[in-house]
Amino acid sequence: MTAQHNPDFNSMLEFNNPNPVTLNIVLKGSWQLQNVLPPVEPVIRKLSSSLQIERISFSCAASTSWDSRLLIFLSKLIRYCDENRLQVITDGLPAGVRRLLDLAASSPTIKATSQRGNNESLLSRVGSTTQDLVAGAPDALRFLGASLKSVARLVTGKAQYNRAEFFYILQQVGPQALPIVSLISFLVGLILAYMGALQLERFGAQIYIADLVGIAMVREIGSLMTAIIVTGRTGAAYAAELGTMQVNEEIDAFKTLGISPMDYLVMPRLLALVLMMPLLSLYAGLVGIVAGIIISVNVFDLSVYEYYQQTLRALNFTHFAVGMMKGTLYGVLIALAGCLRGIQCGRSAQAVGQATTSAVVTGIISVVIAASVTTVMLQKMGMYEFH
C-alpha cells in the first residue's frame, strides 16, 4: 500500500459503449484511501446528459487494487442509478466489492437523528443557557433536601457508608491540604501585616498590627482563603470523582442495589469537609499570626513578647468561634457544590470537565456570597464590636 499520487484520471477511468443503451465503466489503477481519485460527479453528469443509456456495467482490470474508497465511489454511483431507474450490472466488479456493497445495502437505514443538536444560533443559545440556569434551581434545592434527609439518616445511624473510604477522604481533605494552606495563609498574613504596619507606623501605633492581623486572620481571612483553596482542591476533586462514576454508570449501580448515592457518596464527603474546614481555618489564622510576628519583629522593631501580649488582648473567644463557624459553613457549601455538579454530570469526558469547572465556580461564588452575608448579619446582631 504505497501512496501514489495519480492526478491523471483518464488512466483510471475509461468509458465505452458495448451497445447504444449500455455505458461500460472501466476501472484501472489503484483505488485506495491514500490516492487522489477521480470524483464521481463527471460520471453522473455523463449519465444524466445522455438520454439513451439505460444501464451501466463495469469492467475491472485484474491489476486494479481497491479498498473502501472504491466502495464509496460505487455506492454513490449506484444510488444515483437507483434514483433514476438505470439498471446496474455489477458482474464485472471483483467479487469482494460486490459482497461488501450488498452487505452495506442490506443494512436497514434508520433515519434517526440524535436528541442533541448544536447548530443553534447565538441568541437561542443564550436563551437556552438562561433557561437551563433557571431550571437548575429546583434541582439544586432538591439536592439540598436530599442531603438534609441523608444527614437525618446519618444521625439516626441508618445511613450506609464505607468507613474506610470516609477516613481516606478525611485524610485527603484535611492533612493533605496543610502544605498549601500554610503557604497561602503565611503569605497573606505577611502582606496584611506589612500593609497595615506601614499605615499604623505613621501614628506610632505599630503595636496594633497584632490586633489587625490577629482579628482579620482568625475571624475572616483565614477561613476565606482556606475555602478558596479547598474549592480548587477538594470541590473540584469531588465533582470529577462523582462525574466519572456517573459516566461509568457506577452511580446507577449503587441505585439498583438500593444504596442511596446520597448516603454512600455525598455524605462522607460533606462530613469530611464539615469536620476539616473549621480546623483548617483555625490553622490558617494561626499561621497568619506567625507571619505577623515575623514582620513586626524584623521590620518594625516590636518584640515577640509585646506582640504576643497584644494578640492575647485583641482576640477573644468570639473571634475564634466566628472564624470556625464560617469555615464550617464554607465547607458545607463547597461539598454541596462539588457533589451536586458531580451527580448532575452528563455521560462524556467533556461533561466531567464541565462539572469540575462549574463545581469550582459555584463553590467560589457561594463562599464569597456567604462571607459577605454572614459578616453583615453578625454586625447587625451586634457581634462586631472588637472588645
Partner: protein
C-alpha cells in the same frame, strides 16, 4: 521463527505477526509466560481461554500498548519493541483496534469518531469522509446513526460503532476484544459474516479475543489457547481441529463446553 502449527507448512503462507518467548506481567505478577505462536497473513486468529487468563493483556502487548516483560513481537520482520518511534508509528498505522468496552470518544458523535482517523491520516475531502463514514456505519448495521453520541447508544450498538471506527482506514490487521459480547444472536452472526467478508475481500488479517464457541468455529482458522493455572499457552492451531484432536483435556473440555 518456526510455526508450531502443522497446518501451515504451506509455502504461500506468510507470517504476519510472530510472538516469540513472550512473558507478560503487571509489576511482579506474571500473567502468562513463554508464549510462542504465529499469526499468518489472512488468518482469522482467535485468542481464547478462561476469563481473567490474560487475553486482553496479550492483545495489549501485540498492539504495542504494553511492553513485554521478556520476549518479542514481530510484524513481518520488524521487531516492534526494538524499532524506533517512527517505525512503531508506521506499524501502528496498519492496525485497527476494537476495545472490549468500545472506547468511543464520548464527546464526539459517531460520525466524528469515525471521521477522526480519516481526517488525520488521509487527504480525503470532507464530503468523501462523510460518505465513507456512512458506508462504514452501514456495514456494521448502524446506517443513519451518524449524529448520535456514544452515550445515546445501547451497549451492542457502541460495540458495532467501535468496529466501524476500527475499520475506518481499511487497516491491514484488525484486532477485536470480544466482538460478539453484548450482541443478539442475529447481530453476532452478521458480525461474523462481516469479519469473514473483510478477510476474504480486503485480505485483512484478524485477531479476535472471544469465547463465543459458535463464532470461534465459524470464523476462526487459527488460534491460541491460554491456560489460567499453568499461566502459559497449552495449544495453538485450527480450533475445529483442536476440539476434535487435541490430546489436552483442558482444551477439549473448553471447546466442548465442558462436555467431553
Amino acid at each position: 521463527m518456526n510455526s508450531t502449527n502443522p497446518d501451515f507448512i504451506d509455502p504461500d503462507v506468510q507470517a504476519h505477526i510472530t510472538i516469540e518467548n513472550l512473558s507478560m506481567a503487571y509489576g511482579d505478577v506474571v500473567i502468562q509466560h513463554d508464549l510462542n505462536f504465529t499469526i499468518n497473513r489472512g488468518d482469522i486468529f482467535i485468542i481464547m481461554g478462561g476469563s481473567g487468563c490474560g487475553k486482553t493483556t496479550l492483545l495489549k502487548h501485540i498492539i504495542g500498548l504494553k511492553r513485554p516483560a521478556t520476549g518479542n513481537v514481530y510484524f513481518e520482520n520488524d521487531n516492534y519493541w526494538l524499532s524506533g518511534p517512527d517505525l512503531q508509528q508506521k506499524i501502528k498505522r496498519r492496525f485497527g483496534v476494537m476495545f472490549q468496552a468500545g472506547a468511543l470518544w464520548s464527546s464526539m458523535t459517531l460520525a466524528e469518531n469515525i471521521a477522526l482517523p480519516l481526517s488525520e491520516f488521509t487527504e480525503l475531502h470532507a464530503a468523501e469522509i462523510s460518505e465513507l463514514v456512512s458506508f462504514k456505519l452501514a456495514l456494521v448495521g448502524l446506517a443513519g446513526h451518524e449524529d448520535y453520541y456514544p452515550s445515546e447508544l445501547s451497549g451492542g450498538m457502541r460495540k458495532r460503532a467501535s468496529l466501524a471506527r476500527a475499520m475506518a482506514l481499511d487497516p491491514e490487521i484488525l484486532f477485536f476484544d470480544e466482538p460478539g459480547a453484548g450482541l443478539d444472536p442475529l447481530s453476532a452472526r452478521r458480525l461474523d459474516e462481516l469479519i469473514l467478508e473483510l478477510r476474504d475481500s480486503l485480505g485483512t488479517t484478524i485477531v479476535a479475543v472471544t469465547h463465543e464457541l459458535a463464532s470461534i468455529f465459524t470464523i476462526g482458522n487459527n488460534s491460541v489457547f491460554l491456560d489460567t493455572d499453568s499461566r502459559t499457552m497449552i495449544a495453538t492451531g485450527n480450533p475445529l481441529k483442536l476440539r476434535n484432536e487435541s490430546t489436552d483435556p483442558r482444551v477439549r473440555s473448553f471447546l466442548n463446553r465442558g462436555e467431553q
